[in-house]
């Protein structure tokens, strides 16, 4: 497919950052350095908004030791943006690229970013400027189509599983009801990863509530009461995206002056309102026998889930890999595309974990959301062994605890 298409390349990062999004950035830079047709490698400050404002940084000569340090740094080193480019905006992007001599456009982000990539590509064509646009996947939500999983998810899942494992011991130390709210607007993968925390039969999480399963307040109280009366404590994993039977996200209705981004997403993170509301429901709804009031606490894990500086080793390698692979697509002469991770070794039992990358169409991933496979649920309040087998190989070794 190799052909002649000389020009500069530009890379941007978009959407909620992850612990390994800079691995992908560095992977793209490293991959492009192998391409003789790339005259210059630029980075956009804060995604397309930086590009339009001509706020770019030259990465052509950035030393390898700086790249390696950046790769191990959480959150978007170039800066990210929540800006959703419409047609007019994309024309401005194409014009900026033409002015900067940019022929190769790489955007690291979620499904919204893939869509942006697609529109930039079309807009460039419309203004008669030929460009090649590539999407590099990332999202802690793990909700991109075609991929076994997305870069960023394993590290966030590692944080969530570690947090639940440690917090379950805290909950056992001073028994009560403990509610932990986990990120995930529409897909429950990250909340489901809490299940990896369990080492023994009575370990938490004892209840798991996902956005894919309609949340019912009365059933929630009854679930908590049943677990508490059986083992004297209850650790609960709740997705920030839980919705009622009508599909309305409960958390979004609780945050005072909730903010909405350009994609129409109402703020769910950066507030403890959902946890506090659920905590209050339990305090009012359950009166334990024996007089003592029930101890109820809620934590909302918040942004640490996506930036905690102890990434999954597999995630670090794969995030770098998808970046390099996307650059490779450009180097091979592809005119556009996104990258998916394909699992080639299950990582279960005696079979080692292994994966490879493949090119997919931008439209395969753009503005679509992958949900958890029905086989991943075990009833309404737990996940299946199938999910455990899927998730466990991704997160790396978790701390192991002792007991008396």
């Amino acid at each position: 497919m190799s052909d002649s298409f000389e020009g500069a390349a530009i890379i941007g990062q978009s959407g909620g950052p992850t612990a390994v999004i800079n691995q992908s950035l560095v992977g793209v830079v490293e991959g492009l350095r192998e391409n003789g047709q790339i005259t210059k490698i630029l980075g956009m400050r804060h995604g397309v908004s930086g590009l339009v404002a001509r706020d770019v940084v030259d990465l052509t000569q950035t030393p390898q030791d700086v790249l390696d340090a950046v790769a191990q740094t959480p959150s978007a080193a170039l800066g990210s943006t929540r800006e959703k480019p419409d047609r007019d905006y994309c024309v401005k992007i194409a014009e900026a690229c033409r002015e900067l001599g940019v022929r190769y456009f790489f955007y690291v982000g979620g499904n919204d970013s893939s869509d942006a990539c697609r529109i930039v590509n079309e807009s460039a064509r419309e203004v008669g400027y030929e460009m090649r646009c590539f999407h590099v996947p990332k999202t802690v939500d793990n909700d991109l189509m075609e991929s076994d999983h997305t870069p960023g998810f394993p590290s966030a899942a590692r944080f969530v599983a570690s947090a639940f494992r440690a917090d379950s011991r805290d909950n056992a130390s001073i028994p009560g009801v403990k509610i932990n709210v986990v990120m995930g607007r529409h897909a429950g993968f990250l909340t489901a990863a809490a299940a990896l925390a369990r080492e023994d039969e009575n370990d938490g999480p004892h209840l798991i509530y996902l956005p894919e399963v309609a949340f019912d307040t009365d059933r929630f109280i009854a679930d908590v009461e049943r677990v508490y009366s059986k083992i004297g404590r209850c650790q609960v994993a709740v997705s920030e995206g839980i919705a009622n039977a009508e599909g309305v996200a409960i958390g979004a209705t609780l945050i005072e002056n909730a903010q909405t981004d350009d994609h129409g997403n109402v703020q769910l993170s950066g507030s403890g309102a959902l946890g506090d509301q659920l905590s209050n429901l339990v305090k009012k709804g359950i009166t334990p026998t024996g007089g003592r009031s029930l101890r109820v606490r809620a934590d909302t894990f918040g942004y640490l889930q996506r930036c905690w500086p102890d990434p999954s080793p597999i995630d670090s390698v794969e995030a770098r890999g998808v970046g390099r692979f996307a650059a490779g697509l450009a180097n091979e002469g592809h005119v556009d595309g996104s990258v998916a991770i394909v699992r080639t070794g299950s990582g279960v039992g005696s079979e080692a974990y292994a994966s490879k990358y493949k090119r997919i169409e931008l439209t395969d991933v753009a503005a679509k959301t992958k949900h958890m496979d029905p086989s991943f649920f075990a009833g309404k309040i737990d996940v299946s062994q199938g999910f455990m087998d899927y998730c466990e190989p991704l997160v790396g070794e978790l701390p192991r605890f002792g007991a008396l």
Copy 2:
């Protein structure tokens, strides 16, 4: 001081657990095994409430590999309690000890636990049963008198500093105002530790609010606005214990159905209410120039601060050490006492960090609270280099980040 005083020993854990409280438990067990007069080593399940209910576990023969695994496990392996024993309760404790043949009583906890130790000692004397009671310090709040610092604090400070360092990158990725609420009812040490996160001039936290400095809402808004207009973002560290000029804890007034423990402490943790309230104040109080609304988010770090399974190496060693030292006091024939950590090497510049343990009186630490030294403050919204020099050697190596 050695004399003859044969009998069983019992160990309990009390109050909010820490990441290294089991190191102290194991340290006591190991130390007591060197004492030929100790006939048996017991553990109380959930502190004195387990003792009174005769819910104890025999640790005399627990294998070393189990002890080592437990030592590296966060939260109280024996279970903890918030129970505050009054005189009557302490008589029951003394009776339980007499029945179990317990002559040596060890209680791992904060200043309330030291007080409990003291009362148990007196109660036993009153009922004519001779006992020897020792307090082993722990608390993430770092607020015990006589000690340079307390076991549990360095690990919690390590979590807080790591969290702020990573979250500052997240805040720089998608600029806005980010408020992080940190544990600490009366003492600001843990919130102050956020300052260790800074690597470069513009890194967060940009503002630090401690319980020792009266919190003023108008000044808070003005502080945030000043930082935001200067660098386009603002990361804020707020203690859950911040109080107004009248000394009223602001957070305690915000939690719906807030719960109060036996020590009269009103619930501050396990709720996002304070962060949400401050977040809302900023949303309403600041209108940025340029039209776009100000992005404001709040996270409350919660219980992960005291159980995160990546303890400070120094903390792990010292927590084990104070346990062994307390057992040593008993072995040497002391009849009571608590343990303080004394810093003998500053850990600043070319001087290595070093510490030793010393015996202090139970009354030196019982029911007293240590506050931050005035020299640790730098104005109303930051900490001094003196605090940094004090804190930095304790937390161990923090992750280092790169930048473009």
